[in-house]
Structures are given as structure tokens and as C-alpha cells.
């Protein structure tokens, strides 16, 4: 115990006394650690940005998409029958996030005249499942299902078509059809691309209540999306399909997983990035070896004196090694802190054009990697000087 503490104290003293030398030697290591940690963290941050983007477009990983439709005239004749079976499946397997989804065109009466608008019919959970972030107002909540007037979440183009610039005027719009109803705009999402036309989200239950689809097209059956835990995804894919197939005779039921394993930065790219950081670290380490070697030669007499105090060759070896390890560890901490400061202050929105929904904390793995690299380089850089120090002949060293 005292041996270990003594070696660390000795190493720390040596660093304290030779601050300038240590500082010069460690600038390279600190910068390299900052680079390798920062690059790793930035890559993970970028991955998160891209992951969220993908999840907005196609859904979370392990989202099951359920499609069911009648086979010919003999299948179930109404959407309500499918709807009821979907509800049973969600309840039976205790699935927390489930949403029906359907795309359709509905007529809205804008101040400029009636216009058919692309409408996405969903359930409130869809917002969480697809990371929908309204720029204004809110997404649907469960209580919105019971409103008398249908709530709408529209895009900016839709809002502009209404002649409104924000939600402060509580804009409403008449949803046309055989039973016209005045819908209330409760949220606005950004247009997905420039020049996008008006679009809207409408809750499925309100769609069923107010929309009057053309019966000649047959029942409008939504798809069902289920966001399930990864460990249950495979099993549920099969049992949901089997259950629906059994419950809906003369129907075709398909279930597939969506959004599986879409790591945008694949392993190869990560390795290239890590490799660049490793080369930077190696160069920093070589500088440290160089300075350490010169220093050991300069300290030969001191090593001899310490041997006269009773320092074993093992202790001398460990002491010199520890100097390097303690020094690079300190540089590692500095490098990691610098990387955290840099990464935390990256303006993600202005760089990537989107705000992060779940801003990830600074990845621990990146910080750990930086510290491990710094300590490893310290041990390697200290190895050669430590061997040189042990080979010093004590009696020559004292006279040096």
C-alpha cells in the first residue's frame, strides 16, 4: 500500500517540479485525447441526429407495421371489424405505443376556397413514435379524442393558407364533406421541404366520426403501427400476424419490422474516425517518449540517490512509469474536459438543420475511451524511460 502511494506521490512531485517540461510534453497528448474523445462523441451525436431524422421518417427501431385487408368479396366488410381486432391485439400484448395510420385526401374550406388536402390519420401515440415536434402549439393528447370539434395539427403551409401566422388567433377551418364540421388547429409542424403544399394530421377517431369516404372504394382500413421492445419484436411479429389471420377470416394479414439497425455511421466509418484519433495520440505519445527519455538521462544522479534511499529496481521502474501515466492521465482529463466543452457547445441545429429531440448526454464511452487511451499512451511512453532508469548502475549514477 505504502509502496503504491509512495510511487504516486513521487510521480506527482516529479510532475509538480517539472511543470514546464510536463506541460510541453502533454500538450500533444491532451490535444490528441481531446480529438479522439471529441470525434467519437461528435460521431455519436451525429448518429443521434441522423437516427432521429430517420425515426421521424420511417419510425423507431422495432416498429411493427401491421397491414390487413379483405381477400375479395368474402372478407370482413367494414373497417370497424379490423379496427376492433387491432384494438384486441394491442390490449392482449400490453403494447404501450400503438397508432393506426392512414393517408387520405380531405376537403377543407380555406378563405381562398375549398381545397383537397393530404391528411395523415393517426392516433395520439403517433407523436411519440415518430418524434413529431410541433413548431407551435401541441401534438394530440388522449383527451383530444373526446373533443366535439376535431383538432388538427397542420403544417406551416396549411396555416398560411388559413391566413394565419401563428396560433394566437386560435384558427379554425371547416372540414368539408356531407357533414361539415369546424376543426380547430392545435399545433403546427414545419414543412418537410420547401414549397410543400398544405397537409394535416387528424385523429383516427375523428376521421371515423366526420369523414365520409366513398364506399365504392371499399372499406378504408388503416395500417397499425406498434412500437415494441426490441427483445419482443421477433416474437410479436409472428404472434400478431397469426392472431389477426385467425380473427379475420378471408383476410390477408402481414406484419413486418421497420427501422431495423439503421446505424447511419456504420462500424467502418467509426473505425476510420477512431483510427485518425489513434494516430494523433500515437504522435503525442512519441513526443512524450522523447522528452521522457531525455529527462531520465538528466535525472540519472537522482535515480542513484533514490536507490541509496532503498528504492528497489522495481520501485524505480514503477516510479518512472507512473510519472508518465500520471502525467498522461492528467492530460487525458484535460483533453476529455475540453472535448466535453466543445461538444456541448456545438450548435447542432445550425449545423444539421434540426433540433435534437433527445439530446444525448456526452457519451461516457467516448470519455472512457479518451481516458483509457491517455493512460495507455502514458504506460507505453513510460516503458522505455523506465527500462533505461532501471539499467542505470547505482554507483555510476551517484557520481554522475
Amino acid at each position: 500500500m505504502t509502496g503504491l502511494v509512495g510511487a504516486v506521490v513521487e510521480a506527482w512531485d516529479e510532475l509538480r517540479i517539472h511543470k514546464l517540461r510536463v506541460l510541453l510534453a502533454l500538450v500533444g497528448v491532451a490535444v490528441a485525447v481531446c480529438a479522439i474523445t471529441g470525434i467519437t462523441a461528435a460521431a455519436q451525436m451525429m448518429n443521434q441526429v441522423l437516427r432521429e431524422q430517420v425515426e421521424r421518417d420511417i419510425g423507431r427501431p422495432t416498429t411493427l407495421v401491421v397491414n390487413a385487408f379483405p381477400l375479395g368479396e368474402s372478407g370482413p366488410g367494414t373497417a370497424a371489424q379490423y379496427d376492433a381486432e387491432f384494438a384486441r391485439v394491442v390490449e392482449r400484448y400490453g403494447i404501450e405505443y400503438a397508432s393506426r395510420e392512414m393517408f387520405t385526401q380531405l376537403r377543407f374550406r380555406f378563405p381562398t376556397g375549398a381545397q383537397d388536402v393530404q391528411v395523415q390519420v393517426v392516433d395520439p401515440e403517433y407523436g411519440v413514435m415518430r418524434r413529431v415536434q410541433p413548431a407551435q402549439g401541441t401534438w394530440f393528447s388522449e383527451s383530444d379524442v373526446d373533443r366535439l370539434a376535431p383538432p388538427l395539427v397542420v403544417n406551416e403551409s396549411f396555416l398560411a393558407q388559413l391566413g394565419a401566422v401563428d396560433l394566437s388567433s386560435h384558427p379554425t377551418v371547416v372540414l368539408g364533406g356531407k357533414s361539415p364540421v369546424r376543426a380547430t388547429v392545435i399545433g403546427v409542424v414545419e414543412d418537410r421541404f420547401p414549397e410543400e403544399g398544405p397537409t394535416a394530421f387528424l385523429l383516427y377517431d375523428h376521421f371515423s366520426r366526420w369523414a365520409t369516404p366513398d364506399p365504392s372504394f371499399g372499406p378504408m382500413i388503416p395500417s397499425l403501427q406498434l412500437w415494441v421492445p426490441p427483445e419482443m419484436a421477433d416474437e410479436l411479429t409472428e404472434v400478431v400476424r397469426r392472431d389477426l389471420q385467425a380473427a379475420l377470416p378471408n383476410s390477408q394479414a402481414d406484419v413486418f419490422q421497420q427501422g431495423e439497425g439503421f446505424d447511419v455511421l456504420d462500424g467502418g466509418v467509426q473505425w476510420v474516425i477512431t483510427g485518425i484519433g489513434a494516430v494523433a495520440l500515437l504522435l503525442g505519445g512519441l513526443g512524450l517518449v522523447n522528452i521522457s527519455l531525455v529527462t531520465v538521462r538528466y535525472r540519472i544522479r537522482e535515480i542513484g540517490i533514490r536507490r541509496s534511499f532503498g528504492a528497489t529496481s522495481g520501485r524505480v521502474f514503477f516510479g518512472v512509469l507512473m510519472e508518465s501515466v500520471v502525467a498522461t492521465s492528467v492530460a487525458g482529463v484535460v483533453g476529455v474536459i475540453a472535448a466535453v466543452v466543445v461538444i456541448k457547445n456545438i450548435p447542432v441545429e445550425s449545423i444539421f438543420g434540426v433540433a435534437l429531440d433527445d439530446t444525448p448526454p456526452f457519451p461516457r464511452s467516448a470519455a472512457l475511451l479518451g481516458m483509457v487511451c491517455a493512460t495507455g499512451v502514458g504506460a507505453l511512453a513510460g516503458l522505455i524511460p523506465a527500462i533505461v532508469a532501471v539499467r542505470v548502475k547505482v554507483i555510476d549514477a551517484i557520481r554522475y
Binding site: 505504502t2 517540479i17 533514490r306 536507490r307 541509496s308 528497489t312
Partner: protein, 272 residues
């Protein structure tokens, strides 16, 4: 049992031309606890080699070295290092203080290799020892800010801070003026006596050597006993020989002693 005992010790090194250089030849020496022994000799006679062997920094080529009756040759390198730290304190001619460290840190340095309470209380012990050598007010002084005498006092404090059983002093006054050297030696004698440590001083200064209870001369690697400053006599170097002469007598040229050294005691082997 003697504290340390050299029996017929030799030390030789092989030169680049493959010939052997015999630095020490048949050295036999026995030192008891608390004894003060001095070894005189001109430069290059093997004094430092003898001290290095005594302090376990070097090993004999042949012969036996026993510490507390334990043959040192049977100890591992690690065990020798431990005994060096536990049992020996070194005082060097050039002080050999660690650069960049205060007087306190220098004195505490050997305690970094100690165990238990001595390790954890190293700053307090070092401060006490510096106070003991009269430098209690200079704890935070850097070596370069201290005079030569003060630096050697720090070195003495450092040699004694682990309470060694043997103090090995290699030309302890070699870098000091006569007065300061005298003060330093008085201090070394005093503290060695107080702590009961044996003091082995290697010097070419006959006045320093005369302070010891027993004196030896090392010439061409051979250790022989020597009598210094017997009553009514003074001793000085004549050529390679320390020579005693009556006060007022004229030293003869070419190294012939006016008063011959007494014959060697039985336990010391003289030159062949």
C-alpha cells in the same frame, strides 16, 4: 556479533582490454553498533568502492559480507534494497540533494520508501530532523538558497531521518571549508552518538579521520589500521602516506614516516 563484518573481500572489474583491475584486495573489517570508524586514502585507492559495498550499492567479487550475521550474498536484490533503506544512511561529498525540492522535501524523500507510520508521518519526521540539525527555520528553503554547510546539514538530516543503524559518509567535508567542515563533523558525531548509529567516514582529510575511534588507511585496495594524532604528534600526508610526527619535527621527504604506524591488529589483514 559485529553489526557488519567484511571478511577477505575483493572487488575487481574487467577492463576493455580484458585485463582485471583489482580495486579492493582482501579487505577485512568489523564494525560494531555505535562505533565511529574512519578510512583514509588518496583518490583512486578504492575508498568509494569500499563504501558502496558496505552500503549494499555494490557487491564484492569475492569474500564475505555479513550484516547482523546474515551473509549479504544470500539476499535478493529486493531484500538488499530494503536493508539499504532500513539500515543505512548516506552522506555524500557533493551533498546530492534532490534539485527542485525544498529542504523538508529532501529530508522526507527517504521516508517515501519506508512503511507504516514512518511513511505517513514523513513530513513531521523530516521537520523534526531538520530542527535537530539547526535548520528548523529553513524547512521551505530550496537547496540552491542554502550555504554549503547548510546543504550538508540537510544531507545529514536526510541520512538520519530513517534512524539508520549505520551512517556511511563519503568525504562529508570535502566540499566545505575547514571551519564549516569541523562543525558538520561535530554535528554528525553528535547525532550518530545520540542515535546509537555506527559511523563510517571515508575521507582524505586526516583531521576528519582523527575524530573516529578507529582509523584505517586504504592504499592500492588494501585496508590497514592506522594510528592518528597520538599525544604530542600531528599527522599529515607525505606523498601517499599519512605521517605522524612530533610537534615541531620536520617531515622527512619521500614519504618516510618519522613515526611508523603501529602494527596491524589481528583482525585486519595488511598488504601482502
Amino acid at each position: 556479533m559485529a553489526l557488519l563484518e567484511l571478511t577477505d573481500v575483493t572487488r575487481s572489474v574487467r577492463l576493455p582490454d580484458d585485463s582485471m583491475l583489482h580495486i579492493l584486495t582482501g579487505v577485512t573489517l568489523s564494525v560494531d553498533a555505535g562505533e565511529h570508524v574512519s578510512v583514509v586514502g588518496r583518490s583512486g585507492t578504492g575508498k568509494s568502492t569500499l563504501l558502496n559495498i558496505l552500503g549494499l550499492l555494490d557487491a564484492p567479487t569475492s569474500g564475505e559480507y555479513a550484516l547482523d550475521g546474515t551473509p549479504i550474498g544470500r539476499l535478493s536484490g529486493r531484500a538488499r534494497a530494503r536493508r539499504r533503506g532500513d539500515d543505512f544512511g548516506f552522506v555524500f561529498q557533493q551533498f546530492n540533494l534532490l534539485p527542485g525540492r525544498t529542504a523538508l522535501e529532501n529530508v522526507a524523500a527517504p521516508l517515501l520508501y519506508a512503511r507504516g507510520r514512518a511513511f505517513w508521518s514523513r513530513s513531521r519526521l523530516a521537520a523534526e530532523m531538520l530542527d535537530r540539525v539547526g535548520l528548523g527555520a529553513r524547512l521551505d528553503a530550496m537547496p540552491e538558497k542554502l550555504s554549503g554547510g547548510e546543504q550538508q546539514r540537510v544531507a545529514i538530516a536526510r541520512a538520519l531521518v530513517r534512524r539508520p543503524r549505520v551512517i556511511l559518509a563519503d568525504e562529508p567535508t570535502g566540499a566545505l571549508d575547514v571551519d564549516t567542515g569541523g562543525e558538520v563533523m561535530s554535528l554528525l558525531d553528535e547525532i550518530a552518538s545520540d542515535t546509537g548509529a555506527a559511523l563510517i567516514a571515508i575521507t582524505h582529510d586526516l583531521a576528519v579521520a582523527a575524530r573516529a575511534q578507529r582509523h584505517y588507511r586504504l592504499a592500492d585496495g588494501v585496508l590497514v589500521p592506522l594510528t592518528l594524532d597520538s599525544p604530542g604528534h600531528v599527522t599529515e600526508w607525505v606523498g601517499d602516506l599519512p605521517v605522524s610526527r612530533p610537534h615541531g619535527a620536520v617531515t622527512l621527504p619521500s614519504g618516510t614516516p618519522a613515526v611508523a604506524a603501529p602494527p596491524a591488529p589481528q583482525h585486519v589483514r595488511g598488504p601482502a
